[in-house]
Amino acid sequence: MSVQEMMVLEALGSVAAGLLGALTGLGGGIVIVPMLTLLFHVDIRYAIGASLVSVIATSSGAAAAYVREGFTNVRVGMLLEVATTLGAILGAFIAGLVSTSVIATIFGVILLFSAYRAIRPPAEHVTNAPPDRLAARLRLNGSYPTPNGERRYTVRNVPAGFGLMGVAGTLSGLLGIGSGVVKVLAMDQAMGLPFKVSTTTSNFMIGVTAAASAGVYLHRGYIQPVIAVPVMLGVLAGALSGARILTGARTRHLRMIFNVVLIVIALEMLYKGVTGGI
């Protein structure tokens, strides 16, 4: 295969990933590394570098639209970014120390977990817990728009959320993914933020987290422009058109297909990782 053929095929695959990611709300970044390693037989280090770049592109593109809507909690996002950027830099360093098989195995486990969360989303909860002292001091409590006007919410378990965010950042730096699933877990489940606030704030943080590890990858020579550029442009095009046609689209079947895809590639990544095929 020539370089130009590979770039075109890669771009087409990335458009599909971006489109599916946007339509299902699961993000396309998580399938980029498996696509590049399993389909194009690209070394997983190049794949992670390219994936990180695409994650920054989609997160920034989407955040441009979200910031205005009033769901994003900028203070929560900024505080937790201390944890995610530290974790991301740590994750990028760990990636340089462990073998590619270990990375592929961890990747498979995270894919399975993402599919599980997509099939069984956590129940929406109402927070009645007493407001947390630390959250009040850091002025994290906020409000968000609902059809019945602004609704206030309080934040709790700040240290636990901070710790989980460190884990999310480490995974992002190690695997080149946005780790939106773990970020939402930390904010929605641990800190008791409303679901919509968690998802938009998570998206707001993903680009910053990925930028922190992408710098380390750049200096280590993992960002291969020939592989990264079709992925970045493809995912961006797919995600943007996905967001356009999202309104009114019925995504139930798409989500199911995407979940099956996630499980299949998770098992293949696990198999390749454990047998040393990657």
């Binding site: 295969m1 020539s2 370089v3 130009q4 053929e5 770039m7 194009f40 037989h41 690209v42 070394d43 280090r45 190049y46 770049v53 920054i56 592109a57 997160s59 920034s60 593109g61 955040a63 441009a64 639209a65 910031v67 205005r68 900028v74 203070r75 900024m78 505080l79 970014e81 201390v82 950027t85 530290l86 991301a88 830099i89 990028a92 850091l138 002025r139 680009g207 910053v208 990925a210 930028a211 922190a212 590890s213 992408a214 710098g215 380390v216 750049l218 200096h219 280590r220 020579g221 993992y222 960002i223 291969q224 422009p225 020939v226 592989i227 990264a228 550029v229 970045m232 442009l233 961006l236």
Partner: protein, 129 residues
């Protein structure tokens, strides 16, 4: 004190951040796309082999090297410049948030945002700089 000075409202700042993110991504994609077209025009029929890992050539792995290569209109350096612009976009967003918190005289969050910005710049510019 007299009349209250006009201060940046949060909505205004959010508009700025939204615009910054949008234009950052568009510019990055345009620069990287031009570099990619240039690369394909000159080297498109080369065989593709990325199975084994080799560090990308020196000059494509640092801000300094990419800037020098892009000035010489090297196609891969242009692609890399686009990717660097993309990387710089969330960093610029954090910097703008820092300005926003400073204008609100929110010292705690100025400090928190400064830590995030320092970590990002450390990662981008490298321990050597």
């Amino acid at each position: 004190m007299g009349r209250p000075r006009r201060r940046w409202s949060e909505a205004e700042l959010e508009r700025w951040i939204g615009g910054l993110l949008r234009w950052g991504v568009v510019t990055a994609a345009a620069v990287a796309g031009c570099g990619a077209l240039l690369f394909v025009a000159h080297h498109g029929s080369m065989p593709a082999d990325f199975r084994t890992f080799h560090r990308v050539p020196a000059g494509l792995d640092s801000v300094h090297g990419v800037a020098a290569g892009a000035r010489a209109l090297d196609s891969l350096a242009l692609v890399q410049l686009g990717l660097l612009l993309l990387l710089a976009t969330p960093i610029a967003r954090v910097a703008l948030s820092l300005v926003g918190f400073a204008l609100q005289r929110d010292r705690t969050y100025v400090a928190i945002t400064a830590i995030v910005l320092a970590l990002l710049l450390y990662s981008l510019l490298g321990p050597g700089v």
